[in-house]
C-alpha cells in the first residue's frame, strides 16, 4: 500500500497527468495505444526548378548546423560498353581525385577534409551520385567546390593511373568471399552475358583512357540529366540564388541512352555447384523475378514477407533457423533492378552436412505458399508491419529528399507514397496465393551452392543422399578475375 502511494506522490509532484490514468499492463494484448495519424510529406512542396532545367528537392532543417547536398546523375554502369567494363569504378575513383580545370584533386580533397566535410562520388547501375556534407558555416565554399567538380571535372592522368593500379590490385580479391562469389555467379547464370553481369578485368581497366572519362562526363553531366537534393541548415531562397549563379553557364545537350536488351537466357534447372574449401555451403535458389513497376508488386511484398522476408516472423526463418538450428542467416527475397526483372531467391548458409536438408526445407516452403492459403495472423502481421512502419520512409529530410528524387528520376508516379498504404491494405489472402503461384516456379529453379563438394554432397542423417536429388548437378568453374578466363 505504502509503496503505491509513494509512486503516486512522485508523479503528482511532477505534475504528470499523462500515463497516470492507466496502470501497468501485464499482457501485450491488453495494451491500448492512443491514435496516431500520419500523412506522408508531399513531394510538390519540396520540388524546385533551378537554372537551365536543373531539378531539385530542397528542405530546410535547422536542427543541426549541417548541410547535405547530392546530385543524382542519369549515368550508370549499365551504359558502359563491355570492353570498357569497370569504367564506372574508375570514374568513382577519379571524378574528385582527378581535379577540375582550375584545381588539383589533392587541393580539393585537402580543403574539404580541413573543413571537416565529406565529398564522395559513386556510380551505380543507372545513376551516379556526387554527395557533399559540410558545416553550414562553410556552405558557400562547399557549393563552389561541389559545382566545380560536377561541372568541370578534368580527370588528370596521374589520378587515372593510380586508380587503375589500385583497382587491378583489388581484382585479386574477387574470388575470396564465398558470399561475393555466390552473388556474382548466380547473377551471371540468371542474366547471362549482359551489362548487368559484365565484370572488369585487368585488360578493360587498362584500356580506359582520360578521353573515355571525359567523354562520359560531357555526355551525361548536364543540368537536365541531374536531380539535386539539399537538406539542412540554410535559407532555401538564398541557396537557390547561389546555385543558379554557379550554374548559369552550364549548357544542356541531347542524350540518347544505349538500348539495353531485356532478353535473358533460359538456364537449365538443377544444381550449380562451385567448389570452395570451406565448412559451410552458401546457397541461393531461385530464378528471375519481377520489376517493381509491376502492379502485383505490393502483393509480392506481402507474400514474400510471410515466406521469408519478414525475418523471424517468416516461415523460412522459423523453420530453418528457429526449429532446426541449421543456420544463422536464411530467408527469401525479391530484389528489384530498375528497368529489368529482379531476382527471386531463397537463401541460406549452413554447415556442409546439412546443405541438402536446408535446401529441402526451403523448397517445401515454396510449395506450401503456392498451394495453401496463408493464415489470417500471418496476413495481419505482414500488412500491419508495412502500414505501421511506413513513416520510416521519411526518417530524415535527407532520406525524404532522396526518395522523392529517385521517384522522379525513375519515372514512377509522384503519388507513390500517398497511395502506398492503400495498395498494401488491398492485398488479400487470395491475392497472396495468386502471386505466389504466378511468380514462384519450383520446377524452373537453379540451386547454386558455394562449398566443399564431398561433405555437401554426402548429406547427413536428416537427409542423406547426393545433391542430384534436386536435379542435374552442374559444376561451375570460377574465372580468373585478372583475365576473365575460366580456371580449369
Amino acid at each position: 500500500m505504502k509503496k503505491i502511494i509513494f509512486v503516486g506522490l512522485v508523479i503528482c509532484l511532477l505534475g504528470i497527468g499523462t500515463g497516470f490514468g492507466f496502470g501497468q499492463v501485464e499482457n501485450p494484448s491488453d495494451l491500448k495505444f492512443p491514435p496516431l495519424k500520419f500523412e506522408p510529406p508531399d513531394p510538390k512542396v519540396f520540388r524546385t526548378q533551378l537554372a537551365n532545367g536543373l531539378r531539385a528537392y530542397i528542405q530546410e532543417d535547422h536542427s543541426l548546423p549541417l548541410v547535405d547536398l547530392s546530385a543524382i546523375i542519369g549515368f550508370g554502369n549499365l551504359y558502359v560498353p563491355k570492353d570498357k567494363a569497370g569504367l564506372g569504378s574508375l570514374m568513382s575513383e577519379t571524378l574528385i581525385k582527378g581535379g577540375t580545370k582550375t584545381k588539383e584533386g589533392s587541393v580539393i580533397e585537402e580543403r574539404v577534409e580541413f573543413l571537416g566535410g565529406s565529398l564522395s562520388f559513386f556510380v551505380s547501375e543507372r545513376t551516379s551520385a556526387l554527395s557533399l556534407s559540410v558545416l553550414s558555416k562553410d556552405l558557400n565554399e562547399g557549393l563552389d567546390i561541389f559545382f566545380d567538380v560536377l561541372m568541370n571535372a578534368e580527370f588528370r592522368g596521374d589520378a587515372l593511373k593510380l586508380g587503375q593500379a589500385r583497382l587491378i590490385e583489388q581484382l585479386r580479391q574477387a574470388n575470396d568471399q564465398p558470399s561475393v562469389v555466390l552473388a556474382r555467379e548466380y547473377s551471371r547464370l540468371l542474366y547471362g552475358d549482359h551489362p548487368l553481369t559484365w565484370d572488369p578485368t585487368r585488360k578493360t581497366y587498362e584500356g580506359i583512357t582520360v578521353a573515355d572519362l571525359k567523354a562520359v562526363h560531357s555526355e551525361y553531366f548536364f543540368p537536365k540529366n541531374i536531380i539535386l537534393t539539399a537538406s539542412g541548415d540554410f535559407n532555401k531562397a538564398q541557396l537557390k540564388t547561389k546555385i543558379n549563379r554557379l550554374i548559369a553557364g552550364w549548357k544542356n545537350r541531347s542524350l540518347v541512352l544505349p538500348i539495353l536488351s531485356k532478353q535473358f537466357p533460359q538456364f537449365e534447372p538443377g544444381v550449380y555447384f562451385i567448389q570452395k574449401a570451406i565448412n559451410q555451403g552458401y546457397i541461393s535458389l531461385g530464378h528471375l523475378g519481377i520489376e517493381d513497376t509491376n502492379p502485383d508488386y505490393f502483393a509480392v511484398q506481402v507474400m514474400n514477407f510471410i515466406l521469408g522476408g519478414g525475418s523471424f516472423t517468416s516461415r523460412i526463418t522459423s523453420k530453418v533457423r528457429s526449429d532446426e538450428g541449421l543456420s544463422y542467416n536464411q530467408g527469401s527475397r525479391f530484389t528489384y533492378t530498375w528497368g529489368f526483372p529482379g531476382v527471386f531467391s531463397g537463401y541460406v548458409q549452413t554447415k556442409s552436412a546439412t546443405v541438402g536438408y536446408a535446401i529441402s526445407l526451403i523448397l517445401k516452403e515454396l510449395e506450401r505458399i503456392r498451394k495453401e492459403p496463408v493464415a489470417d495472423e500471418e496476413m495481419e502481421t505482414a500488412i500491419n508491419y508495412y502500414l505501421e512502419s511506413f513513416s520510416d520512409n521519411f526518417q530524415s529530410p535527407q532520406v525524404t529528399m532522396a526518395n522523392f528524387a529517385m521517384l522522379e528520376i525513375q519515372g514512377k508516379p509522384m503519388d507513390y507514397y500517398k497511395t502506398y498504404r492503400d495498395k498494401i491494405k488491398a492485398v488479400t489472402k487470395e491475392k497472396v496465393m495468386e502471386v505466389a503461384t504466378k511468380y514462384i516456379h519450383p520446377e524452373k529453379i537453379a540451386i547454386m551452392v558455394v562449398g566443399d563438394w564431398e561433405p555437401c554432397n554426402k548429406g547427413s542423417d536428416k537427409l542423406p543422399g547426393g545433391l542430384d536429388q534436386f536435379g542435374k548437378v552442374h559444376r561451375v568453374n570460377l574465372r580468373d578475375p585478372m583475365t576473365g578466363e575460366e580456371i580449369k
Partner: protein, 503 residues
C-alpha cells in the same frame, strides 16, 4: 508476484545542455529507484521513437570456458519469458527440465570423458531429447516478441553484443513506446531460455560464417596474441569448444548477474514527451528488482616487455597490421592519440576498397607518391579497459612491395613525428573533422541513441562532449610525447599475412 517488489524511488530528473564549441546535446536523465537510468532526447519531425536498451555486459565479462556466452545470451533473450512465447508455462517448463537433465547427461558423457564417452548411450539420450523437443513445440509460440514488434511497425529491430555492451533495439511509432517498456522489462526479469540447444547450433553456424570470411581466423589469432591477459583477447563470438559446452545453468547464472536494472540504461530518441516516458518507465522498468552491485573487470593488460610478431597465410589479401597498446578511454593521452591517428591515416582506408579523400600523411606518401600501398589506414581505439593503436596496409604486389617494406615506411614516418611532431594545420584539421563527424553522428536518431547510450555506461554521456573539448587542448608537444611513449617495439605486435589460395 511481479508487483511485489518496489524499492524506494529515488527521483532525479534534470535537463542538461553542455556546450562544446557549437555542439550541444540536450539529454534528459531520470534514475529509477532500482538504479536503472532513463535517457531521453527529443527529435521532433516524424512520429517515431528509437527505443534502445543497453546492458553493461559483453565478452569482457566472460572467462575461459564460457567465452561467447554474452552473445549467445543476447540470442536467448528472443526465446521468450514466463509470459511470452508460451501457451502453458508450467507444462512447457516441465518438459524443458527433462530436456536439461538429459542434455546434462550427454554433456558429461561427451565432454567430461577423454574418449568422448559411450556413443550408444549418447545416441539414445539424444533420441529422447529429440522426442521431448517435438513434444514441447505445442506449447511454444514462435518468436512472439519479434512478431509483436513487427506487427506494431517496429523497425531497426535487432540486438548486438560487443566486448563491453549488449544492446536491444527497436524503433516504434510514437504512440507505441509502452509496448517496448512492457516487453523489455518483462525479458529483463522473466527471461526463460526455451530452445536453448538449437539456438546454440544457430550461434555455431554464425561462428562458421565468420570462419569462412577470409582473414577472420588470422585476425582472431592476432587479437589473442596481442592481449596476453585482458579478456579482450577472445572474440565476441567465442571459441567453438566453449560454444559447444556452455550449459543452461551457465546461461541462467549469467543472466541473473548482469541483466539487472542497476546494470542497464534505456534511451528514447524521437517525438516524445518526457513526463509521459518517465511515468511509463516508473511503472514498467521500476518493477524490476535491483541486483547486487557489479565489480569492474579485474584483469588489465600487463606491460608487454617484448616485441611480438605473427606470420600467417590464407585466402585473404596480403597485408600488414601493426598494433600498439595504448591507455583506455578517458586517459589524458586519448586526445593526442586520436589526433595522431587522423594526421597519419585520415581517409586512406576507404569505403568498399575505394580510396577515401586522401589527405592523411600515409596515404599521400605510400599510396600516392611512392605507389607502395593499395590502402593504408591508422586507427586509435580507446576501449573501456585497454586501448589499441593500429595500422592496416595492403601492399602493391604489382610493384613487388612486401608487407615488411610497408612496415619500414610506417616506422620511418612514426620516427619523424617523434622528432618533429605535426603541423598546426594538421592538428586543426583533426579537430574540425572530429567535431563535424560528431555532429553528423547526431543526424540519425539511431546513431544518436547508440552513442549516448553506450557512453553513459562507461564514463557517462557527458564524456562525449568532454572528449571533443579535450581535442581542442592538444599541442604538438603532446603529439611528440605520446608518439615516443607508445610507438616502441616492446609495446607492439606486427602481423604479416600472405595470400595463399585454398587451405
Amino acid at each position: 508476484m511481479k508487483r511485489a517488489f518496489m524499492a524506494i524511488t529515488v527521483f532525479l530528473a534534470l535537463t542538461s545542455i553542455i556546450l562544446a564549441a557549437e555542439v550541444t546535446l540536450n539529454v534528459k536523465e531520470h534514475v529509477l529507484g532500482n538504479g536503472m537510468k532513463i535517457l531521453m532526447l527529443q527529435k521532433p519531425g516524424m512520429p517515431r521513437v528509437v527505443c534502445h536498451v543497453y546492458y553493461k555486459v559483453g565478452s569482457i565479462n566472460e572467462r575461459p570456458g564460457i567465452t561467447g556466452i554474452a552473445h549467445l545470451h543476447e540470442h536467448m533473450m528472443f526465446k521468450g519469458t514466463k509470459m511470452m512465447g508460451v501457451t502453458d508455462f508450467e507444462a512447457d517448463a516441465a518438459i524443458d527440465r527433462k530436456i536439461d537433465e538429459l542434455m546434462d547427461k550427454i554433456y558429461r558423457e561427451k565432454y567430461w570423458k577423454a574418449d568422448g564417452g559411450d556413443k550408444e548411450k549418447i545416441a539414445q539420450w539424444q533420441k529422447d531429447v529429440d522426442e521431448l523437443v517435438k513434444d514441447e513445440k505445442k506449447y511454444i509460440i514462435k518468436d512472439q516478441l519479434w512478431e509483436l514488434y513487427m506487427k506494431n511497425g517496429g523497425t531497426g529491430l535487432n540486438a548486438s553484443t560487443s566486448n563491453e555492451v549488449t544492446g536491444y533495439y527497436v524503433t516504434l511509432p510514437s504512440n507505441k513506446v509502452e509496448l517496448q517498456m512492457l516487453l523489455e522489462s518483462d525479458r529483463m526479469m522473466n527471461a526463460y531460455f526455451r530452445e536453448f540447444y538449437s539456438e546454440k547450433d544457430v550461434v555455431m553456424e554464425e561462428r562458421r560464417l565468420s570462419e569462412n570470411r577470409p582473414g577472420f581466423l588470422f585476425s582472431e589469432q592476432v587479437i589473442a596474441a596481442f592481449y596476453a591477459a585482458s579478456p579482450y583477447r577472445w572474440q565476441v563470438i567465442g571459441w567453438m569448444d566453449d560454444l559447444r559446452r556452455i550449459t543452461k545453468k551457465d546461461m541462467e547464472e549469467f543472466h541473473n548477474t548482469y541483466y539487472v536494472p542497476n546494470n542497464a540504461v534505456v534511451i528514447y530518441v524521437g517525438d516524445i514527451d518526457f513526463a509521459n516516458i518517465i511515468a511509463m518507465a516508473e511503472k514498467y522498468f521500476g518493477r524490476v528488482p535491483k541486483g547486487p552491485d557489479l565489480e569492474p573487470i579485474r584483469t588489465h593488460e600487463p606491460a608487454q616487455h617484448s616485441e611480438k610478431r605473427l606470420y600467417g597465410e590464407g585466402p585473404a589479401p596480403t597485408s600488414l597490421q601493426m598494433m600498439f597498446h595504448t591507455p583506455p578511454d578517458g586517459h589524458p593521452d586519448t586526445a593526442p592519440l586520436s589526433v595522431l591517428a587522423d594526421v597519419l591515416g585520415s581517409g586512406a582506408g576507404g569505403f568498399r576498397g575505394r580510396a577515401g579523400a586522401g589527405s592523411g600523411r600515409l596515404y599521400k606518401i605510400l599510396v600516392k607518391e611512392k605507389e607502395m600501398a593499395v590502402t593504408i589506414s591508422a586507427f586509435s581505439r580507446p576501449q573501456w579497459y585497454v586501448g589499441a593503436f593500429q595500422f592496416n596496409a595492403v601492399p602493391r604486389l604489382d610493384k613487388g612491395v612486401t608487407p615488411e617494406d610497408l612496415e619500414k615506411e610506417i616506422w620511418a614516418e612514426v620516427e619523424k613525428i617523434k622528432k618533429d611532431g605535426v603541423t598546426p594545420d594538421e592538428i586543426q584539421k583533426a579537430r574540425n573533422r572530429s567535431e563535424a563527424m560528431f555532429l553528423r553522428s547526431l543526424q540519425s536518431p539511431m546513431g544518436l541513441a547508440s552513442r549516448v547510450g553506450r557512453a553513459e555506461l562507461n564514463r557517462g554521456w557527458k564524456a562525449l562532449l568532454q572528449d571533443l573539448d579535450d581535442l581542442k587542448k592538444v599541442t604538438n608537444d603532446d603529439i611528440k610525447r605520446v608518439a615516443a611513449k607508445y610507438f616502441v617495439r616492446d609495446n607492439s605486435l606486427t602481423a604479416v599475412y600472405i595470400r595463399k589460395m585454398g587451405r
